[in-house]
């Protein structure tokens, strides 16, 4: 068996050659290839088939290809026009059938498109930051004596200081509080608004473009406040853009401390998991609450970016016991770094490692979307084949009049194509309108 296989070149490639090669030179070319193959067998028997295949593939080029004629039945024939007319007449004649058929597919396509849009939304969350690949979120795994591991993102603030001072591979470290509701007042206007405390480098680490203010310094002063575009509109009126005294405006927080505006950031889109309407400097909070400065309390979320080309595994290993070292192993709390790009979708932790989260919904819904589409297609096929008996007479007449097999299939292709055309309009239309409603 192997003897015969070795002595003759692979059949499939020969067949391929026969298919594409210009018949005028085929015999000669094939002879050449046979001769070369024999030569390969003598010199490199194990690679002979591969070398032969390579030779054949290299022959697949203009100059050697034969002329390919397009099927004249399918293109540019006068029947095409007739096919369009029959398809439209047929659709009108059986309105119920057409609309049911279309409706099934439109609903199927629209709903799977909606799901895919949502998935796209979820997957692109937070990806707009310029250095998203270098940003990590710090987690704290608390190992309980019962063996349970609780994971929290509330990290002792001194860890941020240690990261800045003792870790050369760390570029920027940012403290960020949770969203807190404050009573925010500017002259007569008083509203409850949601904001966060953030440390100095916030606007350098994350890409939230500032309309007014310098991203390097806006949060440097402990009594500064950075507000969003919409908040500025709400409190200061739309004229704030031209207001020269904008940076002297002050906001009172909870009726006590006054903060001066140092910057205005662009409204962030829906694709950020970090939501806030204004930011206050973290140092102001720390000043009033010295308990945060303890290694035993967790006060802030910590985000960090490493320098390009830093060894993140080594950094992870180094930072692992950092809290334990500073609390003299009071409780077993280990530090875990998670890529910020994955933090939104993988937020459920088990035994100290992310096992899932929203990604599970993304996966489930993706499968559902595919299923809906497949079922809609099957339904469409079913309905179409169910009509076959009714079309049999029409096909019979056409055949008697001398229609070829090709022209008959062309007719049905045109029909399906027209239906699909109406469908894509209906599908995208209903998808966008329902997306607008949502």
């Amino acid at each position: 068996m192997s003897g015969t296989r070795l002595s003759s070149p692979p059949k499939s490639f020969l067949r391929f050659l026969h298919w594409f090669c210009n018949p005028a030179i085929l015999e000669d070319v094939e002879g050449d290839l046979h001769e070369l193959y024999d030569h390969y067998l003598k010199t490199r028997p194990h690679k002979a088939n591969i070398l032969f295949a390579r030779d054949v593939l290299l022959l697949f080029r203009p100059g050697i290809l034969r002329e390919f004629k397009l099927n004249s039945h399918l293109f540019g024939s006068i029947m095409l026009k007739n096919n369009f007319i029959t398809a439209i007449r047929h659709a009108y004649k059986y309105k119920g059938y057409t609309s049911r058929n279309l409706l099934g597919l439109v609903v199927g396509i629209a709903s799977s498109m909606l799901i895919l849009l949502w998935i796209d939304d979820e997957v692109s969350m937070d990806k707009f930051h310029d250095n998203i690949d270098r940003i990590y979120k710090v987690h704290r795994n608390v190992y309980q004596s019962s063996g349970e591991v609780n994971t929290t993102a509330s990290i002792p603030q001194p860890l941020a200081v240690t990261l800045v001072n003792d870790y050369p591979e760390v570029d920027q470290v940012v403290l960020l509080s949770w969203e807190i509701e404050f009573l925010l007042s500017n002259e007569e206007k008083v509203f409850y608004e949601k904001g966060r405390y953030a440390s100095d480098d916030f606007f350098e680490l994350f890409t939230f473009p500032l309309i007014v203010g310098d991203p390097h310094t806006v949060l440097n002063d402990p009594y500064s406040i950075v507000i969003s575009e919409s908040l500025a509109d709400k409190y200061l009126g739309p004229s704030w853009r031209n207001d020269e005294d904008l940076l002297t405006q002050t906001f009172k927080i909870d009726g006590k401390q006054e903060f001066v505006i140092t910057g205005v950031f662009k409204n962030s889109g829906p694709d950020t998991s970090l939501k806030f309407d204004f930011l206050l400097p973290a140092k102001e909070y720390i000043k009033r609450n010295s308990w945060v400065e303890s290694w035993f309390n967790g006060g802030f979320n910590i985000y960090l970016s490493h320098r390009p080309n830093a060894d993140i595994d080594a950094m992870q290993a180094k930072v692992l016991q950092e809290i334990n070292v500073n609390t003299a192993y009071d409780a077993d709390e280990r530090v875990y770094l998670q890529k910020f790009s994955e933090a939104y979708l993988y937020s459920t932790f088990e035994n100290g490692i992310p096992i899932g989260g929203r990604i599970q919904y993304v996966r489930i819904l993706l499968v559902i979307a595919i299923f809906i589409l497949v079922i809609a297609c099957i339904n469409f096929m079913n309905l179409s084949t169910a009509r076959a008996s009714r079309r049999a007479m029409e096909i019979g007449v056409r055949k008697v009049l001398g229609a070829h097999r090709a022209s008959l299939s062309q007719q049905f292709y045109v029909e399906s194509f027209l239906l699909g055309f109406g469908l894509s309009f209906g599908g995208s239309g209903s998808c966008s309108s329902s997306a607008a409603i949502i």
Binding site: E27, D28, E30, G31, D32, L33, L58, L59, P62, I64
Partner: protein
């Protein structure tokens, strides 16, 4: 040059066909080029060149006897036509003219 459009590889193929004289067919041309010029030639590249040269009228070909070595396929032997000979001569002459036109100073590198 413009009258006889001929590429570098095509020129090599034609010269090789001339060298091989009565024994110029696909594989022998390929091997001759590989041996003499120490460069790899794929069957595809060579075959395209042969087809193109024949279309231009620089080469002509005829089938030889069938042999068992080639899976029962006949060899097609190539020959340079008089027109083809003119073409390569012209290429050679134009090169010669260009060489002759180079001033001797051009290749003296010592003092430049």
């Amino acid at each position: 040059m413009s009258k006889y459009a001929i590429g570098e590889f095509e020129e090599v193929v034609m010269l090789t066909v001339a060298i091989l004289y009565k024994n110029a067919y696909g594989i022998s041309i390929k091997e001759e080029i590989e041996q003499r010029l120490k460069r790899n030639v794929s069957v595809g590249a060579m075959r395209t060149a042969l087809v193109r040269l024949e279309k231009k009228g620089f080469l002509e070909s005829a089938f030889g006897e069938a042999s068992a070595v080639r899976g029962g396929k006949r060899k097609r032997f190539f020959k340079v036509t008089p027109y083809g000979k003119k073409a390569i001569e012209q290429v050679m002459n134009s090169r010669k003219e260009l060489w002759a036109a180079i001033p001797s100073m051009a290749f003296e590198y010592r003092d430049s």
